[in-house]
Symmetry: D2
Subunit: 344 residues, 4 copies
């Protein structure tokens, strides 16, 4: 039974807490939040004790693993404290919006090699996983072209956009991680476009609401991504992978398997309107994989390097839109690739 | 190039005439209709000459085959005249509403064995045919259960219902023929129900508008059929055949392969609203098969005995509804099974 | 927090125990099973104490509600004991295989009107529920025709079939309950057929493995049901309800929303192979509804009368197959309709 | 009845000839081909007389319209001769591979404004047209993102690739035309990638077999295109248009509406393997629209300027791949925009 300490009792912290409650081999031990009231509300529902300080939570001997769900700019500090204390860490994405700080965090984890997982839950969605497994089993031969569609039902608050690092870092980053995960190969270059079609205020905040990216590997595999901050029909999440022997498509997951037929034709129900609903099972499975990482040492979850790569790609997309140029992803001898750097 | 004489220039006659116009190895030579004006309108569009008498049409040496599309109660006479003249015959279903007269017609065709085909066009629908072929190729193993859905968009005129012999003889008869065709085995018994839910006038005409039937063979294969005279979403035509190794379903054929996604969900287009639209290709293929029957002697189309069997089943369904009893289909020594009768 | 005592730690008992573990407002307090070891295994995983006697469980003041998951022939006794003790009861279907004993149980519950629910979990499946709600909202107008398909992946052990009361009572009973639930109206008559196509041993056990039924109401609504003990492609569970303004279909729920395209066409994944997988969410929601019944007095679950009706229909189907006759469901003045009986 | 003269009796000429044979208000009058034998074979099947010279065909008074289906490098000459003779012209795409020659052809047509149509048959596919009409009716609001997938079952002969101008000019050109057609707005810029993943010989011929393009308008609407020369599951032709109020998707058109269910899941049939099969109806409708253009003066088909624009976009895609740069489409005052040029 893995004891979990949760730092951050906001939206995503609550989601992880209720995931922990459903699980069989871990339990919520302690919660810390700057707003003590938030921590109290949470523990009153799902159990665990409230800590007054982060240190108390991390030092609690019943805490085997720390969930870092605090604001992004505190992630590196929380990970560092936890790793130094020898605690396993689950860190919500992104580690940080600044590449240098992420790199620092990767270094800390090299020095303190505790079990660590990044929160890229889509890798654990059973639908995604089935697609991934089928590809690995050779169902479609060699991958040649990928297409991602990710669209949110409605834009987040402007305040969120101003802090999130923009659509490439808060939204496309999931597609970028999935792209690497599916490919099993690093990307070479990318080209991105951005528009403001949904809400002019998003534009005046310096962000885009409608973006595309094309990415490709040095072996000629290409990937196109379409993102939008607004989608009238719900949370639109699709992937299609085309290969030498076939194709595999991951469609949207309807709320129910009912179809109505009437004088306007066939009508299927709308899609989930929020990611917690769509990715409910993915969170359960991600937690189970993390618990395995902690207890058995298996590495099934996204690593800190995965987090770094996804951020590098998101930064590259942003740069491409700003410059109107294709951006070559830094090659393997770049400063942030520690494994290579050491070999030199 | 097979020369065709068409008797009857009404709705179904026109449909066959335009099918003949599209075909490459037959042509419309002559047309007869009691209403000479109808015949003239038809020939002005699709060619051929108008005949003043049926005899002139049948005796025309350029006429190789006669299409009998006149009113049902004239079918037997037209078939008889044509067969005696040695002409191939295509006869719209049913041969007659009276079993004894159909039997007489079968006898005539035994004495004058001209190429003959019944108009059961669904057997030639490419979707049906693919299902049929897959079953014959063993895709689903042994057939165990079948389910038919046939629903018309809207009831026909009451005048039609009063002459047609009722819903079992004008509508379910197609499902009954398909059922025999798919099974490749005769039915043993059936049980049917009937209601008037669509239009009370249909009830006062002595017919039903909503019916079901369950049929089964002596080997234990069962089939359920649902029919309705009215369907809000178009012409509903589906079959599902379940077998020991799998199932094969024939769904509705949408007008186009577009899907719209909006705030009410996914919407697919409505279905064809008329059988000529849905079965356009089936009529082309039935004609091609009939031309092959005439020129090559192959027997691909439904025979007169098939027409007899379908009517016997429709009559049995009617009797089941009227009596509230299951009806056993007459066994193979019954008077209308000529092949057996002769063996005795 | 509702305290639950579980009688019976077999397959279905375990399923309910793990459902209880996932729920937030109830907990497993005590478990009784004739095989004490089974009860111990269960409590070691999901908590609760083991009782040596049923009485100890029922009398436990922490037990607010009793789950009756013991063998069918003990259901009436367990319900009676629990109801007399004033405990809420959840009883797995069927209450009993004998109508008279079920009727006795209904009487006991009239005298001791504790919160009571029958285990007809399909009523709570979110897909079924969406269909039900759409119908109630008038989406398809008046119901006219219904079609059910229920097929199990593989036959149960022969020992099960010999005790279960046969395919009508252990399998079709779910469709029969759903049919009444969807209609909101009682059935008038039915006609059923049965064959042995899957396994001859099922036939020598006196049961069928492939059955159909047609049911209808006095208002002319009809329903067809197809059942099989074996289905090569998984657990086949579909309903289609056709009405005056449209139709609503509940399709199978695929394991994932992936599609593979290759040289054999489009391939979608197989279906769930077991009911616990397909109806996982239904069990959660049924439990939540039962807890509401206990704590708020709402009656959302199937009642004992619903259990009685379903059994009456299953018995009628059996009788129809045995006699080859349609069977009229006993009218409202029949002995087992207590409410009417009292009015006389 | 429009009389048609056909220049070129090769693959595409034959296809148009059989389309003409099916039509009701036009007929094939004369055929010319450099290989007289090809012309003779064609007329023996579908009628018409063989001409020894192009002039004889064009000057034939029974020829109202000329179909230019000869090799691409003769198109401009044939169009010029026909237009000068006052004959309506249907010209297969592309007019020419050289922008300057296309421009010259546009000039000729300005001076001799005969009815003219480019062969962009996809605009007339009933599925495409339904999508187009729904968009124009406002179903999805303002267009924001488009995605095209076009993949051929197998690469054409290398000899074809060497003459065709490459994948952007022989394949993506259809998507580029459709993109402009759907948008109703000109494109501003594009970025393309290209790989050789299917056949290295395609690479040594100087072409690519796997390409993508991203295009966008000055108003911020973006479009992604994925093309491949090889697709294991058939002729893959899909479009999805996402807008402010919804999305509309045009899926592949299966050969039949059958589905097989078995132990490997649900299997739907493969797709058409050739464009004549997939776009059979599109050719019929394109011809009908052209006949209307000839007889009624309506302009429903693609114009010569449409042909020019599509080629400009294909050239730009080629340039983008070769340079690794985004390519801005020449603005409206460019030399090839005659309408603007004249205004200066």
């Amino acid at each position: 039974m893995v004891g979990i300490g949760l730092i951050g009792a906001g939206r995503i912290g609550k989601l992880h807490a209720s995931t922990i409650r459903r699980a069989q081999n871990c339990r919520l031990v302690a919660v810390y939040d700057e707003q003590r009231a938030s921590a109290e509300t949470l523990t009153s529902i799902v159990g665990g004790t409230v800590c007054d300080h982060v240190d108390a939570l991390i030092d609690n001997p019943a805490v085997d693993a720390v969930f870092v769900c605090s604001p992004t700019d505190t992630h590196v500090d929380m990970v560092t404290l936890s790793a130094r204390a020898g605690k396993a860490v689950f860190c919500e994405k992104p580690i940080d919006l600044d590449i240098a700080r992420v790199l620092h965090c990767v270094s800390v984890l090299e020095q303190h090699p505790v079990p660590f997982a990044m929160g890229f839950h889509r890798r654990f969605d059973p639908h995604h996983r089935e697609m991934y497994d089928e590809i690995r089993r050779g169902r479609i031969g060699q991958i040649e072209q990928i297409h991602f569609v990710s669209r949110d039902p409605a834009p987040p608050p402007l305040a969120y956009i101003q802090r999130s690092g923009g659509i490439f870092r808060d939204m496309m980053i999931h597609d970028l991680d999935q792209c690497r995960f599916i490919l099993g190969e690093e990307l070479d270059s990318l080209f991105a476009t951005g528009s403001v079609l949904v809400d002019p205020q998003i534009g005046t905040s310096g962000d885009f609401d409608t973006v595309t990216a094309t990415l490709w590997t040095s072996t000629g595999v290409s990937c196109t991504i379409q993102n939008s901050r607004r989608c009238s029909y719900g949370f639109d999440q699709r992937i299609e992978v085309f290969g030498s022997k076939g194709s595999i498509a991951l469609g949207n997951v309807p709320l129910t398997q009912t179809c109505a037929f009437g004088d306007t034709g066939l009508v299927k129900p709308t899609l989930p309107r929020h990611f917690p609903q769509r990715y409910h099972d993915a969170y359960d499975r991600q937690l189970a994989a993390f618990v395995d990482t902690v207890t058995k040492g298996t590495v099934l979850c996204a690593t800190a390097l995965d987090g770094l790569w996804a951020l590098v790609l998101a930064d590259a997309a942003e740069r491409s839109v700003r410059t109107g140029q294709l951006v070559r992803i830094a090659d393997r001898t770049s400063p942030y690739d520690r494994s290579d750097a050491r070999r030199k």
